[in-house]
Every structure is written in structure tokens, then in C-alpha cells.
């Protein structure tokens, strides 16, 4: 169960907003990079966000570059889940690979406001808006991605099982 408050973002949040290129090329230290998470669109985000919190965004979240640092800095900043109308495809894959769950949920923005408290059951794809007392269904996550993200990402999955999630 993921429990935390909501940070809302618009459509087309790109990876340069999530982690600007000027920082990400210098280091693999994600704790350091996480201080700049979302800096391009909300300069104080990294200071405000707390573990368990979710990002709720519009269409095409994570568009742009293939930088895996984008989902990584969100995860290290404390973001536990991203829910969006839909995602850019590379970001979607990268998020699961680094162990940051993401949910596709059409219409989520009409049912959730900034600061609302959410409780999310990833396996069921069930989102409860505790503040507004409503339940919302998200598109189910394919099984192999769910197993992967529950293990903490692709690397962790491989370390645990000695194979990749899609291999029999």
C-alpha cells in the first residue's frame, strides 16, 4: 500500500524539467541529483516532497530524452508513485526498471487535487482518494512489470531470481 499526498503537474512534463541536462551528466550519485528533481518546473519540489507522496500529472508524462536519471531522481526524492493520463514510452519503461511504480489512469486529474491524501493498491490498480472519499480505478500493470517493480526494479529482480522477468 502506498500512502501519501498528491503533487499535481500538467501535460507534457519533459525529462529536462525532471532533471536538467546541466546536472545529470556529471555524476551517478542519485542522492545529489535528487536535490534537483523537477527543478525545471517546480524549483522547490525536492524540498517539499515526502516519502509516500505521489505525482499526479496530465498526458505524456516524461516526454523527451531516454535519461533513466529522470525516474531515478523522483524515486530518490521520495516520490513513491506517478499517476498520469498517459506516459512517454521510454519513461514508462525506465520507471519500472528503476523500481518506481507508475499508473495510467484516464481522468485522474478531475478526481484528485493538489495535497489530497491517496492510498494506492498497485496490484488491484485501486486508488482511494482519502480526502475526497472516492475510489478510482487505474489501468492494470502487466504482471511481469508488477513483479519487477515489487522487487525494486530490473536489477534487483535479476539479483533475486537470476533471470529477467519476461524469461520463463
Amino acid at each position: 500500500m502506498i500512502r501519501g499526498k498528491v503533487w499535481k503537474f500538467p501535460n507534457d512534463v519533459n525529462t529536462d524539467y525532471i532533471i536538467p541536462g546541466k546536472y545529470k551528466f556529471k555524476t551517478l550519485d542519485m542522492k545529489e541529483l535528487a536535490q534537483h528533481a523537477m527543478e525545471g518546473i517546480d524549483p522547490d519540489f525536492a524540498k517539499k516532497v515526502e516519502k509516500g507522496d505521489s505525482i499526479v500529472a496530465g498526458k505524456n508524462f516524461g516526454m523527451g530524452s531516454s535519461r533513466e536519471q529522470a525516474p531515478l531522481v523522483l524515486k530518490y526524492a521520495g516520490v513513491s508513485l506517478v499517476i498520469a493520463e498517459d506516459f512517454a514510452r521510454i519513461f514508462y519503461r525506465n520507471a519500472f526498471n528503476v523500481g518506481l511504480p507508475v499508473l495510467i489512469c484516464r481522468g485522474i486529474n478531475e478526481k484528485v487535487d493538489q495535497g489530497d491524501l491517496l492510498e494506492v493498491d498497485l496490484r488491484k490498480g485501486k486508488i482511494v482518494n482519502v480526502t475526497k472519499k472516492i475510489e478510482i480505478s487505474a489501468s492494470p500493470i502487466p504482471d511481469f512489470l508488477l513483479e519487477m517493480v515489487e522487487s525494486g526494479g530490473l536489477t534487483e529482480y535479476y539479483k533475486k531470481y537470476g533471470r529477467f522477468p519476461w524469461e520463463k
Binding site: 546541466k22 525545471g40 535519461r67 498517459d86 535479476y158
Partner: protein, 416 residues
């Protein structure tokens, strides 16, 4: 009746996965070539090390390219370059070190992209190689680690948006104007998860390099790849680099399922720019003509090839640039060709700065970070706020002709 006709993308992914695959299915496919660059390779290497995978699947089918920050602008980057260099040498993979050029220009040029093949790159603009009739798409670093180790990965077979461009391109209008116009219509998310297939007599008339510009920007509308069915020009291009047994020609069947279609009449096209801060914020150059410009950048994986430099040189010959003008030949081969043709001399005499092959100032780390408040005209593919290193710079994307004309006047200029 069940439709057995396939798109070119469905055919290539069927072949690569040894299955009969259609859009929407998830397949595990064998990769023909894999690449990572200096912004993504370090995380790939770290993932491999964490998983204890110390041997690559095929060292001749893996390349590491030093292009996004090359030569290194600071010690942090230098250390990551060293990590790449040392790991690459130990594994025996292909290394394109500092000064070789931009990954997306190097791979086709050096014969690593075969029509009918499946190519992946840890860089979103990997979709460029679809111009040769390959299926090529961008991945993140951990996915790339899996490919480096196993040569395989899961893919969702994409639906296709068919963009048909027919008619004669007017003077001063180029493939960059075509693709920017398409993105303006489709929007930044309009082709999400889809293959963007370009067809029509205008596309047939374009050089292979110009088709690369079309495919390069497929990701700017969310596309998984851009793709053009190979023809005589493609074969001429690859025959200089590959043997017949190394490639296979596919094209879409007449009744293939397209999720959507877009028709463009080339006769109606005009020079356009993508205005700040979205790539789909596309306007005719005439609407923003006269906007004062502080910096011009001609180069990148979108428009840093020899034909682009020739266009720029024709405009800049015996003229002087007003704003800071940075020109970057996209690969060493292009640089040498440009030297031989006297293009570099024209640029330098015009007052431009010519930097070494690589990504140049496109990603905002070196070689021309605009000052806050500066307006930039660039031939690159992204104009996001902060992209070039300053949150307060305004970036317009344009063709090399528009960019060069702008460099002379110091304001956004219609090249016609």
C-alpha cells in the same frame, strides 16, 4: 476477415522475435545493434556490474559513443568518460571516443544500421535510423544493460501513424520544415507509442540524410520510431557500407492496418520554426520574422550532416554573422568532407565558431550555453525550457537554411 497484411514495423519485429507479431502484442526480440552514449552508458555499466553480468553478448554489435559532453567540460564528466573507456576496452566493444561525432550520425555512417534490422540505443533519438528501413528505438540505461548482456529485450509491437507527403517542396523548404509541420499537427503526444511511417513521392525525392531528419524527430510527437521503407537511394547508401547478406528489405503491405493517417501536400509547405518552449508550437517563419536573435546553432543529430553544412555555407559565403554562431559538423567524416569542400573556411571567415564533432550546445552542458534572456535559433530537435542550460533562454528550432539566414541578419529571417 482477419487482416494478415502487416506494416513494415510489424514485419521487422516479427522477424526479430521469430513470431507472427501484430500491433499491441508484446514480443521478446533479438537486437542487431546496440548503442549507449556518455549520458546513458555509465548507468548501463553500473547496472551490469550490479547484476554481476561481466560479459557482453556480442562485442562487435555494441558501440559506446562519447558525444553529449565531449571533450569533457569538467572533472565529473571526465571520470564517467574514463569509466566508459575502461569498461569498453575490457569488453572489446566498439568505442567512438571524443571527437568521433554524434551517435545518430555515426551509426548509419559507419555501417552499423542495416535495413530490416532491429537497432536500439540508450538515447531517445535512436529513431533516426528508421530512415534506412530499420526498426530503431530509444531505451533507458537498465534496458540497455539487458541488451548488452543478452542481445534480447521485450518490446510492444507499435501501431503505426502513416504520414504521406506528396508534391514538390517549394524553394527554401526542407525535410526539417516537413517534420516540424507534422509535429505541429500531430502534437507532442499525438503519436505516443506509435511508429511514424513516412511515405509519398516527396519522401522518395529526399536524400537518405534528409529522411534521417524526418525520422529523428518522430520521438518529439511521442513516436517509438520513425521509419521509411527502403528504396533505390537507401540501397545505394547501404551498399557503400554493408554486404547484401547483411540487410533485408521490408515494406508495408497494401492493406496493412494503420491506426491513423496524415496527408501533407508539400506544395503548400513554408519554412517554419518551433517556438519556445514546445516542439509542437510550430509557426511559419513569417509570423516571427524580425525577432532579435543572440545565438545561432547549426549542427546536431537532426541537422549536422554534410548537406546541412553545404546549405549553411551557401548562405554564409562572403557574409558576416551578427549573433554568436556555432557550427558543429556531426561526425569526423563530415568534418573532413566539409574541410575538403572549403565549407569550414567559409564558416570561420564569416565569423562563426566551429566546434568539434559531437552534440555541441544542444543538451546544455558546454560549447555555447546561452545567457539568460538570450534568444537562440537552433537546428536541433528540442526547445524545452532549460534545454540548452539556461531556464531563461528562448529556443527556436529551424532548418539550416533559416538558421543561416538568421545568423546574417541577427533576427529570425525567412530564407526565401
Amino acid at each position: 476477415m482477419y487482416n494478415v497484411d502487416k506494416t513494415i514495423s510489424e514485419k521487422i519485429l516479427s522477424k526479430a522475435s521469430n513470431s507472427d507479431a501484430y500491433a499491441g502484442e508484446i514480443v521478446v526480440a533479438s537486437v542487431d545493434f546496440a548503442m549507449a552514449q556518455d549520458g546513458t552508458a555509465p548507468l548501463t555499466i553500473r547496472a551490469l556490474q550490479e547484476m554481476g553480468l561481466d560479459k557482453v553478448w556480442n562485442k562487435e554489435r555494441i558501440a559506446l559513443v562519447f558525444d553529449h559532453n565531449a571533450p569533457s567540460p569538467n572533472e565529473g564528466v571526465s571520470k564517467l568518460h574514463t569509466l566508459m573507456r575502461e569498461w569498453g576496452k575490457k569488453q572489446g566493444v566498439i568505442l567512438y571516443d571524443v571527437g568521433s561525432g554524434v551517435c545518430h550520425v555515426l551509426l548509419p555512417e559507419q555501417g552499423h544500421v542495416a535495413p530490416g534490422g532491429l537497432v536500439v540505443g540508450a538515447d531517445s533519438h535512436t529513431c533516426t535510423y528508421g530512415a534506412l528501413g530499420a526498426f530503431a528505438t530509444g531505451l533507458g540505461s537498465t534496458d540497455m544493460a539487458v541488451v548488452f548482456a543478452s542481445g534480447k529485450l521485450w518490446f510492444r509491437v507499435p501501431e503505426t501513424l502513416l504520414v504521406s507527403v506528396n508534391g514538390k517542396l517549394p524553394k527554401g523548404v526542407y525535410s526539417k520544415d516537413i517534420v516540424l509541420t507534422v509535429i505541429g499537427k500531430v502534437t507532442a503526444s499525438g503519436a505516443n507509442y506509435m511508429a511514424v511511417e513516412y511515405a509519398g513521392d516527396t519522401v522518395e525525392e529526399l536524400s537518405v540524410e534528409s529522411r534521417m531528419t524526418l525520422c529523428n524527430m518522430a520521438v518529439e510527437m511521442g513516436g517509438k520510431t520513425g521509419i521509411v521503407a527502403p528504396d533505390r537511394k537507401t540501397i545505394e547508401y547501404v551498399e557503400k557500407r554493408l554486404t547484401k547478406s547483411q540487410y533485408q528489405i521490408f515494406s508495408s503491405d497494401p492493406d496493412a492496418d494503420y491506426l491513423s493517417r496524415l496527408e501533407i501536400d508539400a506544395n503548400d509547405l513554408v519554412p517554419v520554426v518551433a517556438c519556445p518552449h514546445e516542439v509542437d508550437n510550430v509557426k511559419p517563419v513569417t509570423e516571427v520574422e524580425g525577432t532579435s536573435v543572440d545565438q545561432v546553432y547549426i549542427g546536431t543529430c537532426t541537422n549536422g550532416r554534410i548537406e546541412d553544412l553545404r546549405i549553411a555555407a551557401k548562405v554564409l559565403k562572403n557574409k558576416k554573422t551578427k549573433p554568436i554562431t556555432i557550427i558543429v559538423p556531426a561526425s569526423r567524416e563530415i568534418y573532413l568532407q566539409a574541410l575538403e569542400e572549403g565549407l569550414i573556411e567559409i564558416f570561420v571567415k564569416a565569423g562563426a565558431v566551429v566546434c568539434n564533432p559531437g552534440c555541441g550546445p544542444c543538451v546544455g552542458t558546454h560549447q555555447g550555453i546561452p545567457s539568460p534572456g538570450y534568444t537562440v535559433v537552433s537546428t536541433a530537435n528540442r526547445n524545452f525550457k532549460g534545454r540548452m542550460g539556461s531556464d531563461e533562454a528562448e529556443i527556436y528550432l529551424a532548418s539550416p537554411h533559416t538558421a543561416a539566414a538568421t545568423a546574417i541578419k541577427g533576427e529570425i529571417t525567412d530564407p526565401r
